[in-house]
Amino acid sequence: MLITAEILFVLPELALLGLACLTLVCDVFSNNPNRRVTYWLAQVSLLGVAGLALYLYPVGTVAVFHQHYILDPLSVALKVTVCVASLLVFAYSYHYFRQRDLLQGEYFVLGLFAVLGMLVMISAHSLLTVYLGLELMSLALYAMVAMNRESGTAAEAAMKYFVLGALASGLLLYGISIVYGVSGTLVLPELAAYLEAETDNRIMFLFGLVFIIVGIAFKLGAAPFHSWVPDVYEGSPTAVTLFLATAPKVAAFAMAIRLLIDGMLPMHIDWQGMLVILALLSMAVGNIIAIVQTNIKRMLAYSAIAHAGFLILGILPGLYVEQGASYAGALFYVIAYVIMSMGAFGFIILAGGKDHEADRLDDLKGLADASPWFALVMLLFMFSLAGVPPFLGFWAKWYVLKEVVAIGYIWLAVLAVVFSVIGAYYYLRIIKLMYFEQVETAPRLSADTGLRVLVSLNGLAVLALGFAPGGLMEICSRVVGL
């Protein structure tokens, strides 16, 4: 195929690159302290890119640029998810920064570049493209964490994130180099074909695989590579935490799917065992340590670790088409998790004020008296994260467990549900603080209407998808190719 024709298939990425640069330039020349132009330009860019990605959906599966880049239904679904999630995150962030007079256009520009990195990761079809996208995303994220220059904790978080992130990238790259050195190919399906035929160099591949898994686990925030998560979540401005907790999760999921399933499916016996350990450790560490936290952001960080464990559980089935089992459960889970955690962090933004972050658990005391509606919305998020019906979180857990049971790992499903019961405790504690504790002066919410509407809609989405998850499930299973 001609290169010029191939360019059409990367139209969303090219458009985003151009628009991100345009946004940067516009921001430089804009002197409106509200940064309205920057904000709206960023939002329009994301909407447009999502539209372009959807527009390319009918193309089906095409690999371009010498097989280094792929366009398939999965990539379209994930790209749309990333764009829409980032769009909503930007809306939350705009309110957050404006309320605190921290508004900087760079947030949106960096955010757009991070999204570009994610899109590249999602469509990556070779080891090198994965790495390229990952670095683009990560560098933008490091800078975003350090956005608030005045804050010491933010600087600390950024430093930690950067050092550990660089280490993880290094390990991933090392793994990639070993795999490349043995197989002589970077392209994922060629690698899979090689692994299918070749059995001699198994041990070398295994060696490389371990490093690749470490890289993936770091980006997903799975134990035992989770130590950055609580510090970064707590130290970053809440709007940045919100971003970290949503779109990059989708990208990390895409990276895991591309590397493990597209590239190394013949070795699934080997990586399955490693994933089982990661999943169990993450669920144990996340759910148990979250119980003793007193800071909501930190608690949600540990909850994110636990959810990463469940997500990994969903990747475990790989692609057993003949048994009807697949990683579609993980896909559903990651989308559901993005919606729920966006709501939970959005609520923290909502509950905070101009000069304080409502990030201590005690800040929520008595909220049900002060603001019954938003206490109810937070209750929806908490029960949903705990996996209680009738909310979206239940179906996410249900879907993953169904796949895990389908491939015969019943003991693993049993352990997973036991950990999720342990996890329910700390979500219940938040509800307890809001509903069961009385205080003299209940906190008053000072957020503006836009933010209130956003959080409310997010809560209703969790409820509505809890009652009607069928459509999303249909999309997930179809995208995976069942």
């Binding site: 049900a368 019954p372 029960f383 209680v388 019906p389 009738p390 239940f394 249900w398 467990l401 169904k402 049971v405 389908a406 019943i410 499903a413 049993v414 549900v417 036991v418 999720s420 019961v421 329910a424 405790y425 219940l428 509800i431 307890k432 509903y435 069961f436 998850p469 069928g470 499930m473 249909e474 299973s477």
Partner: protein, 509 residues
């Protein structure tokens, strides 16, 4: 008999969603409209009760199949359906649910003064979800309602409960949640074999004995916690003591019955061979609950705790009735004898629902005046509250299993069918009649009779018209079922016989 118009009316959906929507409406009224909220909740709950009575009237008790079936595809990808239906087992439980909810709304009228609309909304939503549990024919739909129900109950105990409410409600939630998740895994396992969650597909699914035993244990964890059986009953006294009166009533009258309903709807028909194999174990657990917990109840100082332990003891009869059936079948007894044990257990569930609700309401009546549940704080209440004392006498007698009250029928039938299986089991179970009389009547004596104990008791006002009304509403069915239980048995008879026939057949392929 059904005219086309009635047939097209989705009666069951109406019973589920009308209270839920009503609850949401009450919630939207806001705290300033308390009177309107109370009236609205009362009207909704009475209408729902009438609707369920109409359902019972239209119900054809000669048919073995599910009736009023509603079927809509819910999640197409995984063959999950919104599938509802009722048979002779669920109809009485639905009636009990709607009846108790209406009572609870009356009972809270002046008692609850904080966050009134939220309180009423929680109960209405809970009512809808409970009816959902009793009507769901799709296992995932069942699980959906089963778990969702925990949320309003969690809030009811936590917001309006007593001093240790937070401990009690979190314990309640985690206990029941832990039990149920194993059921989910068991359901998913069966789904991986047949690709359906339809209850009757699960009934037909052949399973080896080992598989059945694992599934049985998973179900047992879910249902035993709910009933609750010894030794997983410890959440119940805490939850009962701390819950507001309405919460205790619903908890005792209906939530506990869900465990029993789970056994009869899931465990017995889906894993009949495992149930038969483990019947001995279950009978032992039931007997421990009946006898040991009976003694524990004897030692209680707190009235609510006493009734809570009495609930555990009485619910032991329900599980005994379910599992004694297998000994009868094994000894080549007739299906009729086996069905009698089941019918006795069902009767016991309904009767215990009414009696425990009544006793909790009685304690509530006294608590509202004296603000104590300790037996020692009372004495001689009969002197100041004669009308109340006579009502409570009736319910105490019923709890002790006096012939002529509904409490007698169920226990008697279970003991009778135990005799057919094993005389020793029957003798042990019959001790509850003595123990029950001992702890209930002893409590009654200490609280009601004797000299006026203190000034607070001396200052007591007798029951108001509102309180008389709900006590009377409970006294009528307790006596009616005790004197003339035939209509209830006729309602269940065909369904239970059909069920026994199914259970008697092995599923091992």
């Amino acid at each position: 008999m059904l005219s086309p118009l009635f047939q097209s009316l989705p009666l069951l959906s109406l019973l589920i969603w009308a209270p839920i929507l009503g609850g949401i409406f009450v919630l939207m009224l806001g705290e300033r409209q308390q009177e309107a909220a109370r009236l609205f909740a009362l009207v909704v709950s009475i209408l729902i009760f009438l609707l369920s009575a109409w359902l019972c009237y239209l119900f054809d008790n000669t048919a073995t199949l599910m009736q009023f079936v509603e079927h809509t595809v819910w999640i197409d990808t995984f063959n999950i359906n919104y599938h509802l239906g009722v048979d002779g087992i669920s109809v009485p439980l639905i009636l009990l649910t709607t009846f108790t909810t209406a009572l609870v709304v009356i009972a809270c009228w002046t008692v609850i003064q904080t966050r009134v609309t939220q309180y009423l909304a929680a109960f209405l939503i809970l009512e809808g979800l409970m009816i959902g549990v009793f009507t769901a024919l799709d296992a995932i739909l069942f699980y959906f309602f089963w778990e969702a129900m925990l949320i309003p109950m969690f809030l009811i105990i936590g917001v309006w409960g007593g001093p240790r409410r937070i401990y009690a409600t979190i314990k309640f939630f985690l206990y029941t949640f832990l039990g149920s998740v194993f059921m989910l895994v068991a359901l998913l396992y069966m789904y991986s074999k047949i690709g359906s969650f339809y209850l009757f597909d699960l009934y037909r699914l052949p399973l080896s004995l080992a598989e059945q035993q694992w599934i049985f244990i998973a179900f047992l964890l879910a249902f035993a916690v709910k009933i609750p059986m010894w030794p997983v009953h410890t959440w119940l006294p805490d939850a009962h003591v701390e819950a507001p009166t309405g919460g205790s009533v619903i908890l005792a009258a209906i939530l506990l019955k869900m465990g029993g309903y789970g056994f009869i709807r899931f465990s017995l028909p889906i894993t009949p061979d495992a149930s038969a194999a483990m019947a001995g174990f279950m009978i032992v657990l039931s007997l421990i609950a009946i006898v040991y917990i009976g003694f524990v109840a004897l030692a209680q100082q707190d009235m609510k705790k006493l009734i809570a332990y009495s609930s555990v003891s009485h619910m032991g009869f329900v599980t005994l009735g379910f599992f004694i059936m297998f000994s009868i079948l094994e000894q080549a007894g007739s299906n009729t004898d086996a069905a009698m044990g089941l019918a006795g257990a069902m009767m016991q569930m309904i009767s215990h629902g009414l009696i425990s609700a009544a006793l909790f309401l009685c304690v509530g009546v006294m608590y509202d005046r004296v603000h104590s549940r300790q037996i020692a704080d009372y004495g001689g209440v009969a002197n100041t509250m004669p009308v109340f004392a006579s009502f409570m006498m009736l319910f105490a007698m019923a709890n002790a299993g006096l012939p002529g009250t509904s409490g007698f029928i169920g226990e008697f039938m279970v003991i009778l069918s135990s005799f057919k299986a094993n005389a020793w089991v029957a003798v042990l179970a019959a001790t509850v009649l003595i123990l029950g009389a001992a702890y209930t009547l002893w409590m009654y004596k200490r609280v009601i009779f004797g000299d006026v104990a203190n000034e607070q008791v001396a200052a007591l006002q007798d029951v108001s018209l509102r309180e008389v009304s709900f006590l009377l509403l409970l006294a009528v069915p307790v006596l009616l079922l005790g004197l003339w239980p035939a209509p209830l048995f006729e309602l269940m008879d065909v369904t239970l016989r059909h069920l026994v026939e199914h259970i008697a057949q092995s599923k091992i392929n």
